[in-house]
């Protein structure tokens, strides 16, 4: 009994984990099945033959690579912009005293919880008036609406975790505030900045609603709306092609998970869910 218990616990836990991961396994399995095997009833749980033809078709016959490039530009620019602003902003919110600081922090938290659909209508009007609709720039601006409050909130928590004495010691040694920030705060904050950047990148990479409303030209569509339009436009839904697209779309995420996962978990602790 003493020996059996851990085995049972393991089997039980791993069955649940497998059940949760099954949709992802199925996504990969489907993307590797030849067309002839796909519509077998009942489905073959383990593919009888493996093919990469869907990936090849995705890259050579569909605009997938263009969507991918758009998403890379969009998510990277948003991340750089938001993290740069957010780092300075968080430093100011945590380590300086001036009137209205508390109100500002509260406003950040409020916007962090605000629903996108409230902002989408005025933003749409704004972009049309400025002649910015159907540009990647309009999406970068729109993504700031959720990414900036999020990044500020995360960075603020990370900044609060840096002992104030470190900065004071540098100031006593004659450093300026900016010098102290560069030499003392920034190196300490770097893991937090990386974590925030990863979260922002993923948020921007995955965003759908703004892309749906602000961009209707295929040339600037990011992956989210681009891949969905491949589903809608097809007369016969090509599931294996869509699953291949899904796998490819998740690539950055897989890379992050394989190499930088600790940054994601530390971001969770900072993101306002501390117990």
């Amino acid at each position: 009994m003493k020996l059996l218990r851990p085995v049972l616990l393991n089997v039980f836990t791993w069955s649940l984990v497998f059940l949760i991961a099954f949709p992802l396994v199925w996504m990969i399995v489907t993307s590797l099945k030849p067309q002839s095997e796909l519509f077998r009833i009942p489905p073959t749980w383990i593919p009888e033959s493996v093919t990469f033809e869907h990936y090849w078709r995705l890259l050579s016959e569909t605009p997938f690579l263009r969507y991918f490039r758009n998403s890379v530009v969009l998510a990277t620019t948003t991340t750089l912009f938001v993290v740069a602003l957010g780092t300075l902003g968080a430093y100011s919110l945590v380590r300086f005293t001036y009137r209205g600081r508390e109100t500002l922090a509260l406003l950040v938290l409020f916007t962090y919880l605000l629903p996108s659909v409230v902002l989408i209508i005025p933003l749409y009007l704004m972009m049309v008036t400025l002649g910015l609709s159907n540009t990647l720039f309009s999406l970068i601006l729109a993504h700031t609406t959720f990414a900036l409050p999020y990044a500020l909130w995360l960075l603020r928590s990370f900044m609060e975790g840096i002992p104030e004495d470190l900065e004071n010691a540098a100031l006593v040694d004659g450093a300026t505030r900016i010098g102290a920030f560069r030499d003392v705060i920034f190196p300490q904050l770097l893991p937090g900045i990386i974590s925030t950047a990863l979260f922002t990148f993923i948020l921007s990479w995955n965003e759908y609603l703004y892309a749906l409303v602000l961009v209707n030209s295929d040339a600037v569509a990011p992956l989210t709306t681009g891949v969905m339009s491949m589903l809608i436009s097809a007369f016969n839904i090509e599931w294996s092609l869509l699953m291949a697209a899904s796998v490819m779309m998740s690539l950055p995420l897989i890379v992050v998970f394989a190499f930088l996962q600790s940054y994601l978990t530390s971001g969770f602790g900072a993101g306002g869910v501390k117990g």
Binding site: L88, T97, I121, L148, L209, F257
Partner: protein
């Protein structure tokens, strides 16, 4: 530092250095404030302003209608129907997320084989793009070739393939399930982090007192998790309440309007029915409902600070 030394000690707040620091602080936050005003504060106020106009989306022409949009909101069926749907969706998916999240966190806290791999696999859906999640689940839900129907049939749970997203109540159950699958990892991570900080001697003391695993869960684990669970529930309630992508992509609000939450109603009114003013009014109404949760959450986080 000389500034402080030579300054008469009137008040620390108004010393030249302090004032210079305050100016620098404002300077550092200024770009953020500028962007905030441009893309968040202005649109937010504009949404409230637009809600008293009637605007036809394609031409953006229209006129002032006063409170008409709000009268329609209060007396029409659309808003209340969507509010009801939103509450069903939120409560349903949130309950599943919490139960599954706490359960799996407890399991993954144990010493199991390849624990970090198991944790990674459980975490993954949370970071996955909603578009990818929806595509995969649409394929799983497919009535003819879907793995879900065939799996359930092979296990003998159902004898006929089910129409998962096209009829009620299956469509609601479907979106609640996918929502729970996508978002419960959030609960797992937050609870796991908290579990690791519960002092082991609490459990030892309980064991000496003869408490079984179930009693230990109710008497030690759950009370220790209480505060983190309150925050998780409020935060997830807010996020589930405003969820758009998942529902829009899975069912589009259908069949008819059975899964049309408030977010979808606003979108549909603005870009489907082309009534921007009315849509803005709905969005303001939605925000007012959410304000209750937001105030609760903000108070909760302030309490801890």
């Amino acid at each position: 530092m000389t500034a402080i030394a030579t300054d008469p000690p009137r008040s620390a707040v108004s010393s030249p250095l302090e004032r210079a620091y305050a100016r620098l602080g404002v300077l550092l936050i200024a770009p953020t404030i500028l962007v905030f005003t441009l893309v968040i504060v202005y649109p937010l106020l504009a949404a409230i302003y637009l809600s008293v106009f009637s605007i036809y989306t394609p031409t953006l022409q229209g006129g002032f209608v006063g409170a008409d949009n709000y009268v329609e909101l209060l007396t029409g069926k659309a808003f209340w129907n969507s509010l009801r749907v939103t509450l069903i969706w939120t409560v349903g998916t949130l309950t599943l997320q919490i139960v599954a999240g706490v359960g799996l966190a407890l399991l993954l806290h144990q010493n199991i084989w390849f624990r970090s791999l198991a944790r990674s696999l459980v975490l993954f859906p949370y970071f996955l793009s909603t578009v990818v999640a929806v595509l995969v689940w649409k394929w799983l839900f497919n009535d003819l070739y879907g793995a879900l129907n065939h799996g359930l049939m092979q296990l003998g749970i159902i004898d006929m393939p089910l129409d998962w997203l096209g009829s009620m109540p299956n469509a609601m159950i479907g979106v609640i399930l996918v929502g729970a699958w996508k978002y419960f990892p959030f609960v797992v991570i937050a609870v796991l982090a908290r579990l690791q900080t519960i002092p082991e001697n609490l459990y030892e003391a309980a064991r000496i007192d003869g408490a079984g695993p179930i009693a230990r869960f109710w008497d030690i684990t759950l009370p220790q998790l209480r505060s983190v669970l309150t925050v998780i529930i409020l935060l997830r309630a807010i996020w589930d309440f405003k969820e758009f992508d998942l529902l829009y992509l899975l069912t589009g609000g259908g069949p008819v309007t059975s899964t049309q939450t408030l977010s979808l109603l606003v979108y549909q009114e603005a870009f489907g029915l082309n009534q921007m003013g009315q849509a803005a009014a709905y969005s303001v109404g939605m925000m007012l409902v959410m304000l209750v949760f937001m105030v609760l959450y903000i108070r909760q986080t302030k309490e801890k600070a």
